[in-house]
């Protein structure tokens, strides 16, 4: 299969610490790739490397089938929004976009207006200073900046962070439209796994600088099925009680619920073990596992995604 981006043992060291280690990831054309990992896991480091902002310590990557010097020429096809939109606050939204247009040799007249429309910015926003934009408007302007030059791959680091629910939905629609209508591939990282699961076609889980899993939505569905959710007074003690009856595939999610992934039919035995341990049991029920559940199971129950 031909990938528009393929990394080969991509590694970035800061001193003795590996911020990203032996990363082998793959992005297909026209797909949205969701990068998941807790703070400091190495997501931004990977995104910086593949967008040409940072040089890998070792390993390599191919872009649109090209490697080496030819790959460097392909970097013009990668639009990027890393961490927060880089804007000149004293300049208007239009001027911010115009600067990059000039840099890439694009005539800004008409093009900038179209870009603003694409990301849902109103014409009257064009002359407002970027510093006066709301967070949502700044994120949209950041996406518009990343879109200048018709990139085939967008690398977006936490583009929905801090947005209100409406802003999140709007960004999701923009990205889905870019994929569906223009065939643009997107690599996106987000802490909001529920939102990511509505958008991404492929996922990569990063933990402590390593890519520990890469899977499609179909694979996610086949891997995650039903699970048992337990709401009790004490998560850790509940895990210990379950261990007592031989259940080890269990973890605590970020809401404090215990999620069990084995012997799902034995809810009565689970409840009995919990009560016998003196733990108040509030609720025990079956639920279809989510991306978050899968992520937690892969990362050993870390709740800070």
């Amino acid at each position: 299969m031909a990938y528009i981006l393929e990394t080969m043992a991509l590694t970035k060291m800061y001193g003795q610490k590996a911020a990203a280690k032996d990363i082998n990831m793959h992005i297909e054309e026209g797909k949205i790739y969701g990068l998941i990992g807790r703070n400091g896991a190495g997501k931004t480091t990977i995104m910086r490397m593949i967008s040409g902002l940072s040089t890998p310590t070792s390993g390599s990557y191919s872009l649109f089938g090209e490697t080496g010097l030819k790959m460097k020429r392909m970097l013009k096809n990668v639009g990027v929004l890393i961490e927060h939109p880089g804007l000149f606050p004293k300049l208007s939204g239009y001027e911010n976009l115009k600067i990059k247009c000039l840099g890439l040799g694009i005539k800004p007249k008409g093009y900038v207006e179209e870009l603003m429309k694409t990301v849902g910015l109103k014409p009257e926003d064009a002359d407002k200073k970027a510093g006066s934009y709301s967070l949502g408007m700044r994120q949209r302007l950041g996406i518009a900046l990343a879109l200048i030059g018709e990139p085939k791959l967008l690398v977006l680091d936490e583009p929905i962070n801090g947005l209100d629910p409406q802003g999140i939905v709007e960004v999701r629609r923009i990205l889905a439209r870019l994929r569906d209508e223009r065939g643009i591939s997107v690599m996106i990282s987000s802490h909001i796994l529920d939102e990511l699961s509505k958008l991404a076609d492929v996922y990569g889980i990063i933990s402590e600088g390593c890519l520990i899993d890469e899977f499609t939505t179909d694979e996610l569905e086949s891997r995650t099925g039903l699970c048992v959710m337990i709401r009790s007074g004490e998560g850790q003690k509940t895990l210990d009680a379950l261990k007592g009856i031989g259940i080890t595939k269990a973890a605590i999610d970020k809401e404090g619920l215990v999620r069990v992934e084995e012997r799902l039919e034995e809810t009565a035995a689970m409840a009995e073990a919990i009560i016998r341990a003196g733990i108040p049991l509030h609720e025990i029920y079956h639920r279809n596992a989510t991306l978050e559940d899968y992520y937690l199971s892969k990362t050993g129950g870390n709740v800070n995604a």
Binding site: E83, L87, F88, G103, L145
Partner: protein, 259 residues
């Protein structure tokens, strides 16, 4: 590359520090001759001398062109302050991330900033000289003398010297990301403190065998002699200094990650 220069020029002309520094520079240049004259009158009055001869004095055009780049030490700081702010803006606001990755080499951004600095310095110098002429015209008669052509040559050498100082600033601010050090250097350029630094550098150069070279003679605000060896040394100094720091700035910027 041309597109990047266009981009940097657009950004420069939109930069408020550039406009503010240029406006102050212009005011200083305009007021320098009248202020100088006022001080002369005051000094003459205090000494009990007649002041009549101070009026209607003729001023040679070549003298204006050869006078220090900007009147007073404060004037010399302004273009460098404007440059430090301009070099730092895209890094401080993170705008550099939008474009640096899409270029075949990140160092191209430094190169384009350097080229955008040429019109910046030319504008500062031209505005300084033109308004100095205007200010002089209020009080004195300017005569077009025979040395104007060589003075113009010196004017362009000063531009070259200013450009070479700009490479040091682009290296410190854009590449090393040391805005504060850049600002300190910019201020020092117009400060008497810099004489000590120049002296130290000259002593060091003397130790390595380069004798009779005083760096202070080749700074943009120095009064250049018009002897041929002096001019050649000035051009060579500017080119060597500029080339070293520009190459260093591009190389280091290429190797360092964009943050």
């Amino acid at each position: 590359m041309l597109n990047l220069i266009k981009m940097d020029l657009y950004r420069l002309f939109k930069s408020k520090p550039f406009i503010i520094c240029l406006a102050i520079s212009a005011l200083l240049a305009l007021a320098s001759t009248p202020i100088e004259k006022a001080f002369s009158l005051l000094a003459a009055a205090l000494a009990g001398e007649g002041a009549a001869d101070l009026f209607d004095k003729q001023e040679k055009m070549s003298a204006i062109l050869l006078s220090p780049l900007f009147p007073g030490s404060f004037g010399a700081i302004l273009p460098f302050i404007s440059l430090v702010s301009y070099y730092n803006a895209d890094i401080e606001h993170g705008y550099i991330k939008n474009i640096a990755g899409q270029l075949p080499a990140r160092g191209l951004t430094v190169f384009s900033k350097f080229f955008a600095t040429i019109p910046h310095n030319l504008i500062f110098m031209c505005v300084g000289v033109l308004l100095n002429i205007l200010g002089t015209m209020f009080l004195r008669t300017i005569v077009w003398d025979a040395e104007v052509a060589s003075a113009l040559g010196t004017f362009f050498i000063k531009l070259l010297l200013m450009q070479s100082v700009a490479t040091l600033l682009v290296f410190v601010v854009s590449t090393l990301r040391l805005k504060s050090l850049g600002a300190i250097l910019a201020v020092l350029m117009g400060s008497p403190m810099m004489t000590i630094v120049y002296g130290l550098i000259s002593t060091l150069l003397e130790r390595v065998g380069i004798k009779n070279f005083s760096l202070s003679d080749y700074m943009p605000d120095a009064i250049l002699c018009e002897t041929q060896p002096e001019i050649l040394t000035a051009i060579l100094s500017a080119l060597i200094f500029g080339a070293i720091f520009l190459a260093l700035a591009i190389r280091v910027f290429d190797r360092r990650d964009v943050k």
